[in-house]
Amino acid sequence: MVNTLWLKEIRAQVYTWKGTLWLLIAALLFSFASYLMLTDKELSLLDQTELLWMLSKIILGTAFLIVSIDASSILAAEFEHETAESLFLSPVKLNAVLFAKWLASLTLWLALFAVAVPYMVVTSSGTRLAFPFLGYVLLLGTLGIAGMTLLILGISLLFRSSKNTLTTSLVILLALSAPGLFSSTLKASGLAQIFARFNPLDNIFEALDNVLVDYQLSLLQNGRYLWPLLLFGAAAFAFLFVSVRAFRRQGYIKHE
């Protein structure tokens, strides 16, 4: 059943002009960034590992944004297009629907990652970081995006509207990436330190900095950045669980 639902989502979300457009936009963005990094005089003065770190931020930032936008409509559209009623009239389990949609969002992330692979390979050539670079972007991206999409599915269940879900998701994404805009004084404050300790985006980029710039390649050496990501995923799952209960109380179809 999950396989049937997942295949339907892939056809509806990824294997469409919209999905192709996302991948094309990502490819153009990665091409532009890679070209600049390899040809721009000022950028080429940077250490190659710094370039890789910048590229990883661009890849993961783009992926977080695209997958969040896509995930905001993957469930809510069922309610907006009135297909949810027919779907839940079949013996399908809500958990199976959510799992299939979550897998479809992760598939989009994997497709974006696949698009990014050639750029990562080219920019990391000459270093011995190609495999750690690919591996850590995949691992950290999967953990972060898995949590983010669980959170978005939970929001979708409560709102049943892609517009409201998208707005909320983008606000959350903005809040998570806000520390990047902080001045160094503000970053040093206690509150910012606590936020950074638990913020999944901060931990992803710190981990990549640790791997690419400081050559700390083992998982153990990056454990302190991985557990906040797992914690974020667990919190997102708990939120989804609560949303499922609220959704069931309201009914599969909400009165208009």
Binding site: M1, T4, L5, K8, R11, A12, T16, H81, E82, T83, A84, E85, S86, F88, L89, S90, P91, V92, K93, R248, R249, G251, Y252, I253, H255
Partner: protein, 311 residues
């Protein structure tokens, strides 16, 4: 209650201050063709959604095929529903759409024959099975919705305005299909605004207004409740002037002659109508159609829903 396909007791559902369904009681027997009538906003769709397990009731009991309202997945294997909402995956073809739902029912993985081609043929969509649903007319979508509802060979069919948007031929086709399904033992719960459809198809009818049951019974029960006389529409071949009126003269009303076909309404009970038909047969007047008067049900509906609203 044991033989009931659908049993509803003191069912209540509110949306904020609005009582959508208020103490509803229904009893539909196995194999019955049951009509569910009510004005807009009477609570028909909410009731069907509660029966299908899509909305939890606030209070009351539902037993559908022996399962409770909260057993949605079990209920869904037993019933077929044509819902009010007309949402389809427009990018799929009819064939893909039904195959998708067949997979959800586990019908595609079993060794049994694929039910999709036969169903497409049954609802008259065989020629368009490979066209995207987005290109379908409203009537074609309606047929596809019915095909989806029939995928799992349901014991109980819940239909919310199943012929809405269909042309007269389409309505006739669907009605014939529903009759055949009912004859094969399928219990049918039909919610419709088309009063003639309900009076033609259903053996018993329930009328609700403002979420409350106004009346439930046969057409004759409803006529008695509304304090209206029984009436039957009769269509004959020949001139209305040739009808052997005799003592029935005062009961023959609303006469209409169109070319060789005459139509009139007989106001009286079934025995009286049969006596008149026998007399016409003796005189060699062919009777083309004999049915309960549709306008009579309109009068009953208006009379009872008005009374229900006032009460």
């Amino acid at each position: 209650m044991a033989d009931a396909a659908i049993a509803v007791k003191k069912l209540c559902k509110s949306y904020g201050e609005v009582k959508a369904v208020d103490g509803l009681e229904l009893n539909v027997q196995k194999g019955e063709f049951f009509g569910f009538l009510g004005p807009n906003g009477a609570g028909k769709t909410t009731t069907i959604r509660m029966l299908a397990g899509l909305i939890p009731p606030d209070r009351g009991e539902i037993a559908i095929g022996g399962f409770g309202a909260r057993e949605r997945e079990k209920i869904s294997r037993l019933i077929g529903v044509v819902p009010e909402s007309r949402g389809f995956y427009d990018w799929m073809t009819a064939n893909e759409y039904l195959s998708f739902f067949a997979s959800l029912y586990g019908l595609r993985s079993s060794r049994g024959a694929n039910p999709v081609p036969a169903l497409l043929d049954q609802v008259g969509l065989k020629g368009r099975q490979h066209s995207a649903i987005g290109t379908y007319s409203r009537g074609m979508r309606q047929r596809l919705g019915l095909a989806r509802a029939l995928l799992n060979s349901p014991q109980i069919l819940l239909l919310d305005e199943p012929t809405l948007g269909l042309d007269p031929q389409g309505q006739e086709d669907i009605q014939n299909l529903l009759r055949a399904l009912n004859r094969s033992g399928v219990t049918i719960f039909l919610s419709s605004h088309l009063l003639h459809e309900v009076s033609d198809l259903c053996s018993r009818i329930a009328i609700i207004a403002k979420g409350r049951l106004v009346v439930q019974g046969t057409l004759r029960d409803l006529q008695q409740k509304a304090d209206l006389k029984e009436a039957y529409a009769i269509k004959i071949r020949g001139a209305l002037a040739d009808i052997p009126r005799g003592e029935f003269a005062s009961r023959i009303t609303r006469e209409e002659q169109a070319m060789e076909v005459g139509e009139f309404v007989f106001e009286g009970d079934l025995a009286g109508a049969n006596a008149l038909i026998d007399r016409m047969h003796q005189q060699g007047i062919p009777v083309l159609e004999f049915r309960p008067d549709r306008d009579n049900l309109t009068e009953i509906f208006l009379s009872l829903t008005q009374a229900g609203s006032d009460g």
